[in-house]
């Protein structure tokens, strides 16, 4: 009551104050006390045409006066200093501080930003390529844009940045990889200059693996995947490394809290040959020892990335580029959590990629070009316990070799034809424990697995008329698992277990154990309504012959990869999408709405209590099922101007049904559909980038999503004087909703001088309001029952400062 009186009094006071003020103004005029006038004309800087409806606001107030049809404005003001802002949609705002003592003339020319470069990080469709292409669900991100996003601990992070996009999420903070439109993380194929990345994160999911300086741009295909890509069912992330500068030496880098970076571009033969080398190194883990609590004093966590690229252009028709990428992680913890039944005080993990790719591009003529690509990629992991008697050394690796040839043929302006061939060989070592190691722990060696994946593809983008374009094609994939291989045979009509094993069939070296093949149709079409609006439709089928075998919430970097065989069938997904895209106000804004539906068969899950590590008969642990995902993504982007950014809302579901071949024994959640670990129906993402001057920029990102599912117990049972929760169904409840606001402030060239050396400071706060977002909910037995607990990963604001430099 008293508060409301106070509030009313306050309002009354305000009204009186305003009234008195107005009165004073009127009285002053009556006394013929002339006020200075601020007047002027607002015109377009390029055309000189007057701008009608431009806003003139004073001292940061929202309202102001507007210009008339001749671009003219005028306002009486009392003497004083004013900050005047002149703005109009589609133009870069103009600001000035004026001391107003007498009449003041202010003529302003505004720059049309619809013709300036896009400032925004991302576009919901391939605008840069062309709004007119029929492809759907394609997002292009420039690294320049990603660098503007507030980065956790100051580390520019591609995987984290992607999660600000509609349709891209993860299980939670610190989890490994991304989930694209309801797909699992191993359903994404990530390339960096044609070489695959099997584990996209450092330190068990904390940071992305890529050396950001060396990256030019990323293309994320969330659905409409062109026929030249295949092999995974959810998405393709194609990362392109920067082509080294052929003319000028360039050096850039940065010093951050977690890692330090440097990149150098050196032209060797001007306009013909140049080299790039970029590295990122983290060695700041000594803080664990110095200031960490006892239980993490012995923790070590270091990583590095190294990327090099040689670019050679002998003549106008040929370019050759050779890229290498190396990533490495070293992690040491006091307790062992990766190998059951081994006692060790300390465990070390190291893992990383060693990738090499070469590309030769040849231009036959303006209508026909060819790319020949060769790739060697190795991802290996090692788990090591340096114990004196219980020493363990567990390794696994995946070798990937790929040769492909791709042709682009444009017979006329209405057809763009793309076709090619690809062959991949996989050599997987699923696990070797203690080979040639002296220890009480025995040696276990799982035999190597080898397979081939061939593909032929063609598609044609046919522009039927100015409004309608169709892109249609197919990819034919043929997969074969090769010997030497042991097929364990199980009794007919019984689930595969150690008890139903009846014998083993040996497949000789190079012989075929099992083959699969299938046609993958790819269709995308676009219909334009005028210049600024299009409707698109797409359908594609994708097959996947390799997957991670992991039943963890998020796979460990040491998880086993497995290609298809007699028992594990390839995953097949059918994907449908429909989109509406509209450019508003001369491309300043872009509105998009995309709906999709995906059905995937033969997804892999595991029997209850599965044992996946070093298991020679892994088929006894695997159960297959199906998955479906659907959603609607709405996004509004402001692409240009002093303030740019986007807001998106996504409704998305990701569901699974796993029944296995013997539902009564193998089915999960009673054979019903259940939500996947990354099913988060509602999410809102917002990004705002403000660049008021050349030297300062501010960015905010906000993320909200429904909490992810967890399995909630339906009771308790007692056994051997201990109490345990009964989990009858999977993922039947949800953790609390997630939301987070981040902020960053970048000061570029603080010295304000134009020099060859350009430095910038970035101050970042991650999780600005320090919300303890839950990662998971779990239950622990206590004396009388069970107690629910909540795990949060980054439950406090993270402040960081990093320095970046460029030498041009």
């Amino acid at each position: 009551m008293s508060q409301s009186i106070q509030f009313s009094l306050f309002k009354l006071f305000l009204i009186l104050f305003l009234f008195i003020n107005n009165c004073g103004f009127v009285l002053a005029q009556n006394k013929e006390f002339k006020l200075p006038v601020l007047e002027g004309k607002v015109t377009d800087s390029k055309t000189g045409e007057p701008i009608r409806g431009a806003t003139i606001s004073l001292d940061f107030k929202k309202s102001g006066i507007i210009t008339d049809s001749s671009g003219y404005f005028s306002i009486y003001l009392s003497s004083g200093e004013y900050i005047v802002k002149v703005s109009h949609v589609g133009y870069k705002p103009f600001r000035i501080k004026i001391p107003l003592r007498s009449d003041y003339r202010l003529d302003v020319q505004l720059d049309d930003i619809t013709k300036t470069l896009e400032e925004v990080i991302v576009s919901s469709q391939a605008t840069r390529k062309d709004i007119q292409t029929p492809s759907l669900g394609v997002t292009i991100l420039s690294i320049k844009g990603i660098k503007k996003l507030p980065a956790m601990m100051g580390e520019v992070d591609i995987i984290r940045s992607l999660q600000t996009l509609p349709g891209v999420s993860s299980v939670g903070e610190g989890s490994n990889g991304i989930n694209v439109r309801g797909g699992a993380i191993d359903q994404n194929l990530i390339f960096i200059d044609d070489a695959p990345i099997f584990n996209p994160t450092h330190l068990f999911g904390l940071f992305s693996v890529f050396a950001s300086d060396a990256i030019r741009e990323l293309e994320l295909y969330k659905g409409g995947v062109p026929s030249r890509f295949g092999g995974r069912t959810a998405s393709i992330l194609d990362i392109k490394m920067t082509e080294p500068n052929l003319e000028k030496f360039k050096l850039q880098g940065g010093i951050g809290l977690v890692s330090n970076r440097a990149m150098v571009e050196v032209p060797i033969i001007k306009d013909k040959l140049s080299v790039l080398a970029a590295g990122r190194l983290s060695f700041n883990d000594f803080w664990f020892k110095l200031i960490g609590p006892d239980n993490i004093k012995n923790t070590r966590a270091n990583f590095y990335d190294l990327a090099t690229k040689v670019f050679y252009r002998p003549n106008k028709n040929n370019t050759i580029s050779l890229s290498t990428y190396v990533s490495s992680d070293f992690y040491q913890v006091d307790s062992l959590f990766s190998l059951e039944n081994v006692i060790a005080r300390r465990t070390q993990f190291d893992y990383g990629h060693l990738n090499f790719s070469g590309r030769w591009s040849h231009y036959f003529n303006t209508r026909l070009s060819m790319d020949v690509v060769g790739v060697l990629s190795k991802y290996k992991t090692r788990t090591y316990a340096p114990d004196s008697v219980n020493r363990i050394e567990l390794t696994n690796s995946i070798d990937y070799k790929n040769v492909k040839v791709n042709f682009d043929y444009n017979p006329n302006d209405n057809h763009k034809i793309n076709f090619g061939l690809s062959g991949v060989r996989y050599d997987i070592s699923p696990g070797i424990l203690n080979q040639n190691v002296k220890s009480r722990i025995a040696a276990v060696i799982l035999p190597e697995e080898q397979s081939m994946e061939y593909a032929a593809y063609v598609d044609d983008e046919y522009k039927v008329n100015s409004k309608f374009t169709i892109q249609a094609g197919f990819r034919f994939a043929f997969f074969t698992n090769l010997g030497p291989y042991s097929i364990r045979k199980y009794a007919e009509g019984q689930p595969r277990t150690a008890n139903s094993l009846i014998g083993t069939e040996e497949i000789g070296s190079g012989s075929v154990e099992k083959s699969y093949s299938g046609l993958e149709p790819r269709v995308a079409m676009k219909y334009s309504f005028g210049e600024n609006a299009t409707v698109k439709f797409g359908y594609n089928r994708m097959q996947q012959f390799i997957q991670i075998l992991s039943n963890n919430t998020t796979p460990l970097p040491t998880s086993r990869w497995k290609t298809s065989d007699s028992y594990i069938k390839p995953q097949v997904s059918d994907f449908l999408s429909l989109g509406y895209f509209r450019n508003i106000q001369e491309n300043v804004f872009e509105l998009s709405a995309e709906a999709y539906y995906r059905q995937t068969d033969n997804v892999v899950d595991f029997i209850s209590g599965a044992n996946l590590q070093l298991n020679k008969s892994i088929e006894t642990q695997v159960v297959s099922g199906q998955a479906k995902a659907y959603g609607l993504e709405l996004m509004l982007t402001k692409k240009r101007g002093e303030m740019s950014g986007w807001i998106s809302y996504t409704y998305a579901r990701s569901l699974q049904q796993v029944r296995g071949d013997f539902p009564e024994l193998q089915q999960i959640a009673g054979g019903n559909w259940y939500a996947s670990n990354y099913d988060k129906p509602h999410s809102v993402n917002m990004m705002l980038n403000i660049q008021p001057t050349k030297h300062h920029s501010f960015a905010f990102t906000f993320a909200y999503n429904t909490g992810r599912p967890f399995s909630s117990p339906s009771g308790i049972f007692q056994l051997d004087n201990k109490r345990y929760p009964v989990y009858e169904t999977r993922n039947n409840d949800r953790i609390s909703d997630y939301h987070r606001l981040d902020f960053s402030w970048t000061i570029t060239n603080p010295s304000l001088k134009e020099r060859r050396w350009e430095g910038s400071w970035t101050f970042t706060v991650y999780n600005l309001y320090g919300r303890k977002n839950a990662y998971s909910v779990f239950f622990k037995p206590t004396g009388g029952g069970i107690r629910p607990y909540e795990l949060s990963v980054f439950g406090a604001p993270f402040i960081s400062l990093s320095y970046n430099f460029k030498f041009l």
């Binding site: 200031i291 039944n341 039943n551 670990n677 007692q718 056994l719 201990k722 607990y789």
Partner: protein, 382 residues
């Protein structure tokens, strides 16, 4: 200097901010009850016991409905049948006489409930177990639990043993702890009083505000059990000497010596697999990499009348070696013991006059059950 301070800030926030906290507003979304068969057969000279209860559908107000009047028996490989009979406590069945399991013996469990449901186990063979060797304990703090959480501080107990030469040996460690009752209080009646004729607490109407407590009329000890599952398989270390195996975590709720009966068990593969899945569900949780929470239904007991019925529990046939000792808990440093806070109550005391005139009683007797006993265990020091 500034940069160093910033580093400190970052790394401390990282490890302070990643935390585990109890969830206060949890609400159960599903309820279901399953038949739970807890059947053991071992070589210890004690009655062999089968517990037959329904699981509690409520996780907070737990209630395990006993299944009474069932016919339960073991059959060995020679077809010799040993019956169990229901004790005075409903749902608990025990053998009588000197029957114990024999190492190398193969046993099957059969259960028939009063309403005609039949259950049968797979045959399980009792495996041998080696001696416990070289026990040590160490005080350790788990920093991921907050100060004041009983899980935070405790004594870890490590032992060595020689794995048997045979392949496929599986082990389990359990412990039992006895301690005197706090203030020797046997019974506390919540907002009521103890009726000595009915031998139970009664709630008057209207209820009194006070909680009344009654001392025991003789020796009475609380029994508590290991809360963690400690398992080991010799899959990677057959025939080796196993050293430094953590087998228990003793709570730090006081600094008094801690009486402990430690049992080392040689269990079957089915028991190992069953307990291992329970361990994954309850102990390997709270990391970024948890596996899906999923209850494994019984691996070695099936219903013969309704093969689709889901049963909880296991027929656990094991041999056992025991060790009894005290743990010195004065070595806990850096933190205070988290004591159990007793319920606020008033101890009921009869005046000598009341005793004389009205036959007033103020001491209750010790109720024998899973968690309480009058009998002092072996090795007990008063």
């Amino acid at each position: 200097m500034k940069s160093i301070l910033l580093h400190i800030l970052i790394f401390t926030t990282l490890f302070v901010s990643s935390c585990v906290a109890p969830l206060d507003n949890f609400q159960q979304v599903a309820n279901k009850s399953f038949l739970t068969i807890e059947a053991t057969l071992n070589n210890l000279s004690e009655p062999q016991t089968v517990y037959l209860f329904m699981s509690s559908p409520d996780v907070e107000n737990t209630y395990f409905l006993p299944i009474s009047n069932a016919t339960i028996f073991y059959t060995d490989e020679k077809g010799v049948r040993t019956d169990l009979s229901e004790t005075s406590l409903k749902g608990i069945y025990q053998t009588s006489g000197n029957f114990v399991g024999r190492i190398g013996g193969t046993y099957t469990l059969t259960i028939e409930t009063r309403d005609g449901k039949k259950y049968k186990s797979l045959p399980e063979t009792m495996r041998p177990v080696p001696e416990i060797e070289n026990l040590i304990n160490r005080f350790e703090i788990l920093d991921n639990y907050g100060v004041g959480d009983p899980q935070r501080a405790g004594f870890n107990l490590y032992l060595d043993f020689q794995d048997l030469p045979s392949e496929g040996d599986n082990y389990q460690w359990t412990w039992k702890h006895y301690q005197k009752l706090d203030y020797n209080i046997c019974t506390t009646c919540l907002k009521g009083y103890f009726d000595f004729r009915l031998n139970t607490c009664v709630l008057p109407r209207p209820a009194t505000e006070k909680n009344l407590s009654y001392e025991c009329d003789g020796t009475c000890l609380d029994i508590s059990y290991s809360t963690d599952l400690n398992l080991f398989s010799d899959a990677y270390s057959n025939g080796q000497r196993v050293t430094g195996k953590k087998v228990a975590r003793i709570p730090y709720d006081d600094i008094t010596p801690y009486y402990l009966q430690l049992e080392q068990r040689g269990i079957t593969k089915n028991s190992y697999n069953y307990y291992q899945s329970l361990k994954i569900q309850t102990q390997n949780t709270g990391t970024l990499f948890d596996v899906p929470a999923e209850t494994r239904y019984s691996v070695n007991i099936k219903s013969t009348t309704n093969p689709d019925e889901k049963i909880l529990g296991v027929f656990d046939v094991f041999s056992s070696k025991k060790k009894v000792f005290y743990i010195d808990r004065t070595k806990g440093t850096g933190t205070q013991p988290v004591k159990n806070i007793p319920l606020e109550s008033t101890i009921f005391v009869c005046t000598p006059l009341d005793v004389q005139e009205r036959g007033c009683k103020d001491k209750t007797s010790c109720q024998e059950n899973r968690y309480r006993t009058k009998i002092k265990p072996e090795g007990w020091r008063d």
